[in-house]
Amino acid sequence: MKSSSIAGILFIAMMTIQLYVPIREVIRKERVWHSGITAKMQLAPIDPSDPFRGKFITLSFRENTIDVSTRSEWKAGQEVYVFMKPDNNRLLHIDHLGAFYSEDKNLICLKATIQRLNDKQGYKEVRLLYPFEQFYMEESKAPKAEEAYQSALRDSSTIAYGLLSVYKGEAVIRDILIGEKSLIK
């Protein structure tokens, strides 16, 4: 086989890999978007910036800690599955942690990472990091969004939450709502 043919094959292989990596992410997220169930998680934001990926809001969810026994073997940096129960307002609350994904009719399962463990008296507090804590916005909207959040936090009658699509532990954040008002629209 000529060296130019080999080079051609390798070039096509390289093109395929360069396209495959982002397309694989697109397929995964689209599956979650279309096949996942809708859920709400209450939150509060900060506003940094990534030079390559535009303006985003870092989201901090209220349901991000759970108390566990001192004998439990969870470690910081470990990937876990958070089993959550929706309340009457369909807001999610943590029920328990699991090392593996499992289907449950009454619970919604989300993948997360243990950020740290805090030793308390008689128990440990697990602090969780969710893989959807960055929400990209049009850059002029991000500071206004933060202002809106701060106001929402001061007003106890208004609930700010993230609207998620969840599918087999994977989640995509579709929107941020304050009361019932979308930040995107």
Binding site: L10, F11, I17, P22, I23, G54, Y136, E138, I173
Partner: protein
């Protein structure tokens, strides 16, 4: 003003060296030649600059966030530049004619297209991820382009990206316990070695000689932690490796100002010694208590690796180039190591020794400048001395009169040394003509 080529052949005609027929044939011959290489290079440079600016502009527009567009439209816009750049790249590589200038533009476009696609996809789906992971994915997808396109510009872009990744992952090491920087550089290294063999004097190869040591210098700083003082001897070791590498026969054949390893190595050693000529390091070192944790810090490993590299490079260069008078800075790392060890036990003596070391080095460099009749090396030695005197201006308690006398002495030394060298050159070559004309 130097004469142009046309003026020179007119001069030859007027002097009777060539006849009018020969004069006309020479002019006709060059009029039919292809455009000169310098014009090709100009087109290449501006083409690459144009591609860089377009690429940067595309990234800025992407970062503006196109919320108003539907997801499908945004996905199409994300992938379109990538596919177009890949096809453009393929055409320049496998097309009927070789198009080296266009190829370099194509690889530059592909570089930014990969980054833009990854960025936009993560933006559309709000995908969580650190900047370091994003840069790693970008670099890993781009590196094969270097070999398939055989492009030095692609190699330079990959080195710069790997350095940015390494720095980002290094300063956020709690999130990235394993830094892939060296793996990325190892993937780029074969192409760099190929360039050294096939195009040792090409401009793009020379750019590598600057970019690689700069990226390694930045990377070393990211290991800073609990054993921070060990970074000083680690840096001296690293700069010694560069300095010795710059003295290898391959790099010695280059013009001095183009040899990144030699210039960065030499300057790095001197600047580090100047910093260590102050007392703050030695006071901190003498009060440091040994603990086990120190030996697990990144600085210890960095120090050990750089020390072994410096020793290895010294042995290798000494075998290839036995004449060591051309390398006055070659043993600095060993001497500094001894001074550093003394620093654990005493805070005053090391500072005196470092200043003595700087004085000796400046004398050795000045001597080398005189022996090799190189004005720039002579002045470099005087500059080291001046910098040392300037540093002492800030931290010693000698009187203003004495400081003033010191500055006058060094300044006078500059004038006298330069005047003597230039006078000696004139006495050897009284007509002042270029011996090659």
């Amino acid at each position: 003003m130097p004469l142009t080529f046309e003026q020179r052949i007119d001069e030859l005609l007027q002097a009777g060296v060539i006849d009018p027929d020969t004069h006309q044939r020479i002019r006709n011959y060059y009029a039919t030649q292809k455009q000169p290489a310098s014009l090709n290079r100009t087109i290449l440079v501006f083409g690459i600059l144009g591609a860089l600016l377009v690429g940067l502009g595309a990234i800025l527009i992407i970062a503006h966030n196109w919320d108003t567009l539907p997801r499908l439209s945004r996905l199409i816009i994300a992938f379109l530049p990538l596919i177009a750049s890949q096809l453009f790249c393929g055409w320049t590589i496998f097309g009927d004619k070789a198009r080296p200038a266009l190829k370099e533009i194509a690889v530059t476009c592909l570089f930014f297209a990969i980054g833009a696609c990854l960025a936009l996809v993560s933006q559309i789906y709000h995908i969580e991820g650190s900047l370091a992971n994003f840069l790693l994915a970008w670099a890993a997808l781009y590196i094969p382009v270097i070999y398939l396109a055989r492009s030095s510009i692609a190699s330079l872009l990959a080195v710069a990206l790997a350095a940015y990744y390494g720095f980002t992952a290094g300063i956020m090491s709690y999130q990235h316990p394993f830094n892939w920087y060296f793996a990325l550089m190892a993937a780029i290294a074969p192409y760099y070695l190929l360039l050294l063999r096939r195009q040792p004097f090409a401009n793009t190869t020379v750019f590598h000689h600057w970019l690689i040591p700069i990226s390694l210098t930045i990377m070393l700083g990211t290991v800073a932690g609990s054993g921070g003082n060990l970074l000083f001897p680690a840096y001296v070791n690293l700069f010694s490796v560069f300095y010795l590498a710059g003295n290898l026969p391959l790099f010695r054949e280059q013009k001095r100002r183009l040899s990144g390893y030699l210039v960065l190595g030499s300057l790095g050693i001197i600047v580090t010694l100047l910093i260590c000529s102050f007392d703050f390091l030695w006071q901190d070192l003498a009060s440091t208590k040994f603990n086990v944790g120190l030996y697990k810090s990144g600085e210890v490993y960095a120090f050990a690796v750089t020390l072994l590299a410096a020793i290895g490079m010294l042995v290798y260069v000494s075998r290839l180039v036995p004449d060591s008078t051309a390398r006055p800075l070659q043993y600095v790392f060993a001497v500094f190591l001894v001074i550093f060890i003394i620093g654990y036990f005493d805070s005053k003596l090391p500072q005196i020794l470092v200043n003595l070391l700087l004085l000796v080095l400046s004398i050795l460099v000045i001597r080398k400048g005189i022996r090799t009749d190189r004005l720039e090396i002579l002045n470099y030695g005087l500059l080291i001395l001046s910098a040392q005197v300037l540093c002492r201006f800030f931290d010693t308690e000698i009187s203003f009169l004495l400081r003033g006398l010191l500055f006058i002495s060094v300044g006078t030394g500059f004038f006298v040394a330069n005047y003597q060298m230039i006078s000696r050159r004139k006495s050897l070559n009284p007509a002042g003509k270029n011996p090659l004309s």
